[in-house]
Amino acid sequence: MHLNEWAFVGVLLAISAILPVVPMVLGWLLGPRKPNPLKSDTYECGIETVGDAWVQFRVQYYVFALVFVVFDVEVALLFPWAVAFGNMGLFAFVAAAVFILLLAVELVYIWRKGALEWM
């Protein structure tokens, strides 16, 4: 039974990967193909591009991703708790409260550190 449930997802994954490929290939076949050096240049408001875009970027973006990872992992751990919550006593609430307050403390720390300010 469990295997069948996931078999659906597996087949859907295969089919949904084919679905976008078909129109893309059709577009490739039906559309004109007349590349020229100017056309296949990287677009940049009409001026010539200097260098490529694969450069170092601001660390700010990385900080947000880091904060997200911490939150996401902790929240993923809360899902089993939420499912079983109805059958557990008040202790389950206290335990989760401590866990969620840890998240809150983390948020306050990040906030005070100024990591949430967009510079």
Binding site: F8, S40, T42, A65, A82, I100, W118
Partner: protein, 429 residues
């Protein structure tokens, strides 16, 4: 059903199961694509009406098949690939953008019997699959080797990833109330729509799902006015259309998810008996959500990136944390509804008026009513506290600005000296 019929007809059970799954997959996968053709028309018509235009009205009655004409046009357009692009990544991105959205269709419960597959971890699956979109956009930005596209992709890391936190925190609450992560379970346990019990959670989910889809006012990742088109700037023809398709399907699937989680999904009068009615109810509810979504998109201006992130981390996330804690506490102290007792009253022929009322509104709904009311009170209290805190923060910010203004001396020094160079000098100091 189909599987049994095929086995009856003398087919191998394994093959029968495969054909059963395969047909289900085809329906689930093409449902979104077919709907998009209609959905884009609805959206264009609505956008036109809001902006005092008529909208598509040439191709077919009321312009209904305008989108098919557009799709055909896109097919005949040249696919221009920039010379400097990283081709494998460049072409994998649009495929991934569509795959991630279609995979959501697997767990959407259309009616009591029509569902792709009722996974026991349905909600978690939706969150996991939803992350495909972020990777797709990042790949598109990186693979294009274009500075605008890469800037758009960087914003995605900050933006999509940030709004996933309040969304996941909001999803905890319906899971907690229903005690299950399966989508069918969530619909069945929802005797009274969760939007009445936990409106704050519904609000959090709606806002953050709008941001996840990346539509206005949160469409920073493709802000035309500053990033030209953002991550999909180097895409053209049918390859570009895949991003468009993915976005529209995502927007619609998010409305369906909202309808399932907070508006009771397929439930409605007679839905258990006639499965088709369930599909109709779900579609009506999700179209309502979709309408609100388009309305928001057409009337609210785009926010700046710092406002966007501050709104998420300084308002939505703290609110979501407080909301989860408060709901968990209330859920624990409110006694569990007496479903068996209500059922007994409803089936008791001698209960008189009470029995009649219980039968009319459904015993489970009546039993659920006190809990819904108490949770709603808790939500109203939370909204009140939030509003008070916001007001305080607003006043503090205003005082800071006023203090800054007071420090600056705009008044001219001597009488009759308004037009000398002294006044601007004082202001600059």
């Amino acid at each position: 059903m189909l599987k049994e019929a095929l086995i009856q007809a003398g087919m191998q059970p394994g093959w029968a199961a495969f054909i059963d799954i395969f047909l289900g997959v085809l329906v689930a996968a093409s449902f979104g694509m077919v709907w998009v053709l209609f959905g884009i028309w609805v959206e264009r018509k609505m956008a036109a009406r809001v902006q005092d235009r008529i909208g598509p009205n040439r191709v077919g009655p009321w312009g209904l098949i305008q989108n098919i004409a557009d799709a055909l046009k896109l097919l005949t357009k040249e696919v221009i690939v920039p010379r400097n692009a990283d081709r494998p990544v460049y072409f994998a991105a649009p495929i991934l953008a569509v795959v991630g959205v279609i995979l959501i269709a697997a767990v959407i419960p259309f009616s009591p019997v029509v569902i792709g597959t009722d996974l026991s971890i349905g909600i978690l699956y939706v969150i996991a699959v939803g992350a495909f979109g972020v990777i797709a956009v990042l790949m598109a930005g990186w693979g294009s080797n274009n500075k605008y596209a890469l800037l758009g992709a960087f914003r995605v890391v900050a933006h999509l990833v940030s709004y996933e936190v309040p969304m996941v925190l909001a999803l905890l609450v319906p899971v907690m109330l229903a005690g299950t992560m399966s989508m069918q379970g969530l619909v069945r346990e929802q005797h009274i729509w969760y939007i009445f019990a936990v409106p704050v959670t519904a609000f959090l989910f709606f806002i953050s799902s709008q941001a996840e889809v990346g539509r206005a006012p949160f469409d920073l990742l493709e802000a035309e006015s500053e990033l030209v088109a953002g991550y999909n700037i180097e895409y053209s023809g049918m390859v570009w259309a895949m991003f468009y398709l993915g976005e529209f399907m995502h927007a619609f699937f998010v409305s369906i998810l909202f309808a399932v989680l907070f508006l009771g999904g397929w439930s409605g009068p007679g839905a258990e008996q006639i499965p088709f009615l369930g599909i109709v109810y779900l579609m009506l509810k999700s179209m309502l959500v979709y309408f609100v979504q388009i309305w928001l998109r057409l009337t609210v201006p785009r926010v700046r990136i710092d406002q966007l992130l501050a709104f998420n981390w300084k308002f939505l996330v703290p609110l979501a944390l407080a909301n989860v804690l408060l709901m968990a506490f209330l859920f624990k102290i409110i006694p569990t509804p007496d479903f068996a007792g209500a059922q007994a009253i409803a089936t008791n022929e001698f209960a008189g008026v009470a029995g009649g009322i219980y039968r009319l509104f459904g015993p489970n709904q009546i039993a659920e009513l006190p809990r819904t009311g108490l949770l709603l009170l808790g939500n109203i209290a939370l909204v009140g506290v939030t509003a008070a805190l916001l007001g305080q923060a607003g006043r503090r910010a205003r005082r800071q600005v006023e203090a800054l203004v007071d420090e600056t001396d705009y008044t001219p020094r001597a009488e009759g000296a308004e037009h000398t160079a002294e006044a601007p000098a004082a202001a600059a100091r």
